[in-house]
Symmetry: C2
Subunit: 255 residues, 2 copies
Amino acid sequence: MATGRTHRPATRSRGIPEATVARLPLYLRALTALSERSVPTVSSEELATAAGVNSAKLRKDFSYLGSYGTRGVGYDVEYLVYQISRELGLTQDWPVVIVGIGNLGAALANYGGFASRGFRVAALIDADPAMAGKPVAGLPVRHTDELEAIITDNGVSIGVIATPAGAAQQVCDRLVAAGVTSILNFAPTVLSVPEGVDVRKVDLSIELQILAFHEQRKAGEDAAQTTAATPPRVPRTAGGGRKGPDGDVPAVMPA
Amino acid sequence: MATGRTHRPATRSRGIPEATVARLPLYLRALTALSERSVPTVSSEELATAAGVNSAKLRKDFSYLGSYGTRGVGYDVEYLVYQISRELGLTQDWPVVIVGIGNLGAALANYGGFASRGFRVAALIDADPAMAGKPVAGLPVRHTDELEAIITDNGVSIGVIATPAGAAQQVCDRLVAAGVTSILNFAPTVLSVPEGVDVRKVDLSIELQILAFHEQRKAGEDAAQTTAATPPRVPRTAGGGRKGPDGDVPAVMPA
DNA sequence: TTGTGTGAAAGGATTCACAGCA
DNA sequence: TGCTGTGAATCCTTTCACACAA
């Protein structure tokens, strides 16, 4: 998941493991819920359960941030909310742009979770001239031509790509050229970016495929599958060079 | 722990690492693209680049599936597509239901990536009676009352939850009770499920928060941040028990 | 010669288990 | 007494480097 980042632990002990960083938002959410219920303190056990992890992991994670707990008592909810928010950089507001206002882009624009957690949608951008000016989630859609100006004028450093796969790399290039250094990519493509730019990917069909793998596993628990003890060594180098018409390799996934 | 796990017991090499499984869809996508361009073979180097990983990792990953390459040549594209599809369980069609047809649910319903990769949207389900019957992505929205019937009638084992956070656990419980054993959760909640049920989570705001963390890091590269070498040990146990009114802990994240 | 397949080494992440502090 | 904070052990993942097949 984590986009290849060549870690250079230059500056002292600034080394929170990537796996820990990925869980901080989880803790933050659980803590925010507790905070709203005015719960003053929480133990690692309780918080871990609320966040869906185990308590040893949680304590180890927190140990990278500092010693914010009280032995025999637990953690002060408000204090932890603040510390984690600060660590994640959420005490400042991040303006983001969303490019590609199709179904998904519109869904993202309407997603409340952004605004409430340190992010502000600075603009919605789409390539379709017919979309321009149309209000989506209270914001008028802007045309792609304005992309560069929007980025610079708003000091945007985080961009969300929700375009079709074909347009993603081009949009990415323009975002980066205009100054964006973090990209959240929903298009099913591998983006290539220069050093120093972070890309995170969310891929809906990949998640489903992973589920399918485990699902298949469950189904074939007793009924020994095709590949039980015999590795499917198919003699594909039969006569000539390439492969027979079809019969050796089933035609899956019709384009 | 069980001693006979690391050995070479009866069932041969039944153990594809989770990290590898998570990358198989990536390879599959890259291979499908090559297949569409009628490229007959690829090297680990080329395919790795296309998939956004390094070649050593890719070769190691493939080694868990079997020896599907040809030394000195590379991999047969069609053959690999088939093998990976089979491994992921995509040679069969998986009926899925999407629950919660708001912005996101509609986006998912319209997402082409599902249908083309072994998944079939069996039904769209929403709790709003006003939605019932409305066509979304060519399918009529069904009411939540029908959930159980839909699951059993279609033999659905994979469910997608795109409801608001508040409804997610309840929907999850009903899905599981009706026979669903894999869930893709888009709601920002931790779902609790019985043993044997897989849950994968996609959380939009979490991804952004992880980006923000790295973004902040970049910004503070030279301008030594608040927390440079001094751990922010705040003397929060001042006089009484709890914390002072406010002034110690800044009020971040206004609900 | 070329590029796969894979032991072995290195690096992370998770879990254990318990000392130590409130 | 109760729960945090953390070395140490374990497990998982990635990378290295090279034997070996085509």
